[in-house]
Symmetry: C2
Subunit: 310 residues, 2 copies
């Protein structure tokens, strides 16, 4: 299916994801005009300096005016406010989308503000880094990554395809599913992993002071991997846990049940159970590498810190 070209693309929120979309769209010529807006005047000034937008709009409403596609790239709990602001500006046939890490709550928050002549098609690119802000984005962020669309029931197939074409143009593989299913899958692939990474780094921070400094020193044993995840944006993650509560609590319940079993095996010295568990988990990594979602290089091919001896 060929999709109509995007004349005006409006990106609301110029953080890691929004600025990556603007950069990719410009670099690959996916829209005639890329308009960027952000609630923070400081961010708007930096976007002007960085030069990845054709137009920097003062308000989301101004950015959305006459746009074919408006993408809210803001923390999940702010998506309703963006929809309220841009809704009245949406022209007939315009698409309103987002990039939020939770989809059920976003759909619910945005839907009331979308006029019947426009289309609401939420989306979530499964790609990111631990950094945020307009400087952190880059055009290649979505290459070879998945973008999940969660069109509501009865969504216009042409609008869905137009949005999908933009994501494919940025290098992503596109898949569609229900918002509910998205939230369940992401709870285990992303939300619970972030929670337990935040948690173990927090546990380490709560130790006696001398112990904490040793934890930092000897972090190369595995802990430092967790600190990368736990360095992600606090606002973004607060919103994720506030809005995907049900699925997160369900998956967290399974996680702690399984952890109790491992804990019991350790307490009673059950080496066979431990060995069996530690063997089964290897196949999953193999599959992820085979699917091209991960490097096979030892230690992620991680380079040492600048200034480190090599």
């Amino acid at each position: 299916m060929s999709a109509a070209r995007i004349s005006r693309l409006a990106v609301i929120g110029a953080g890691l994801i929004g600025s990556s979309i603007a950069r990719a769209a410009r670099e690959k010529g996916l829209a005639d005009t890329v308009v960027v807006s952000d609630a923070d005047p400081g961010v708007r000034a930096r976007v002007r300096l960085l030069g990845f937008a054709d137009v920097v709009a003062e308000t989301a409403a101004e950015a959305a005016r006459d746009a074919d596609l408006v993408i809210a790239c803001v923390p999940v709990c702010a998506s309703g406010a963006v929809a309220a602001e841009v809704g009245p500006e949406l022209k007939p046939g315009a698409i309103l989308s987002d990039v939020g890490s939770v989809k059920g709550a976003v759909l619910e928050a945005m839907a009331p503000f979308v006029p019947p002549h426009a289309h609401l098609i939420p989306a979530h690119p499964v790609a990111g880094t631990e950094f945020s802000g307009p400087e952190a984005g880059f055009a290649a962020l979505f290459e070879n990554r998945w973008c999940i669309l969660t069109p509501p029931e009865g969504a216009d197939p042409e609008a869905v395809e137009r949005l999908a074409a933009l994501w494919r143009g940025m290098g992503a593989n596109v898949e569609a599913m229900t918002a509910r299913h998205h939230d369940l899958v992401l709870a285990i692939t992303s939300h619970v992993p972030h929670l337990i990474a935040y948690n173990i780094v927090g546990t380490a921070a709560h130790l006696e002071e001398t112990l904490t400094s040793e934890v930092i020193k000897f972090s190369a044993g595995g802990f430092r991997d967790f600190t990368r995840i736990a360095a992600s944006d606090p606002t973004m993650w607060r919103d994720v846990f506030l809005t995907n509560r049900e699925a997160v609590l369900e998956m967290l319940g399974r996680f702690t049940e399984d952890l109790s079993a491992l804990q019991r095996a350790i307490r009673y010295g059950d080496g066979e159970a431990l060995f069996a568990h530690f063997t089964r988990t290897r196949a999953i990594r193999r599959s992820i590498i085979e699917m091209g979602q991960e490097t096979a290089a030892p230690d992620f091919g991680r380079r040492p810190a600048p200034g480190a001896a090599e």
Copy 2:
């Protein structure tokens, strides 16, 4: 303090760590002769082919004969058997050491076999990758990493210094502490992180089959970091949990208490508590990067999988 040169270095167990020591010692000329042995004849054959040993010995006893320094590089629960085999061969003044990830249990298992004319100085290089076997090792593995020595009370300072000099020669920073303290620190920096990584990957593997395949597909959201840790050697990790039970259970207890608090904050929608927790953990990563134990590059500077679009 200047340390006597090592004439004959014996490495018992030619896996990731043993083969890295042999390579580094040869490359940097830290011993006149590097002798390597392994219980597995297939591994010995591969060591001959790889050519990083001056001599490949058929048995640990043969390797240890006339050696100044013998390093057991085997899974923690095998260190007692190695000590039993090499003990009778240790010449006066010889040092027996190891690289095990747990130190209290190793000390206990090896000590009975060390004759009074030799020195037992356990050690643990805090460096590794998720791979094992003689092909996985490389000479630079220990550069800018810590090596922790846990000399028993009353250990000979000259023997300690001789071992420390070897580790510094391989690029490591050396620190000494008691075995008990080592096991507590490593429980939180390494053992519990490995356990929870193994656990969440296991939880994902136990989901309904279609859900598991989606977890693999959308793993870039954070989950794939955990799969790297959970791809580590099952024998090594079974031994770690069997031998550092007390410290692991203590730290695991703190971890689950803290997790319950986060879970509660999610259940009752306490955004402020979540935000506060997610903010505190960032400082720890900054310190690790400042100490040169980690790269500051987004996503570890991870390169995409071979064959991935870019």
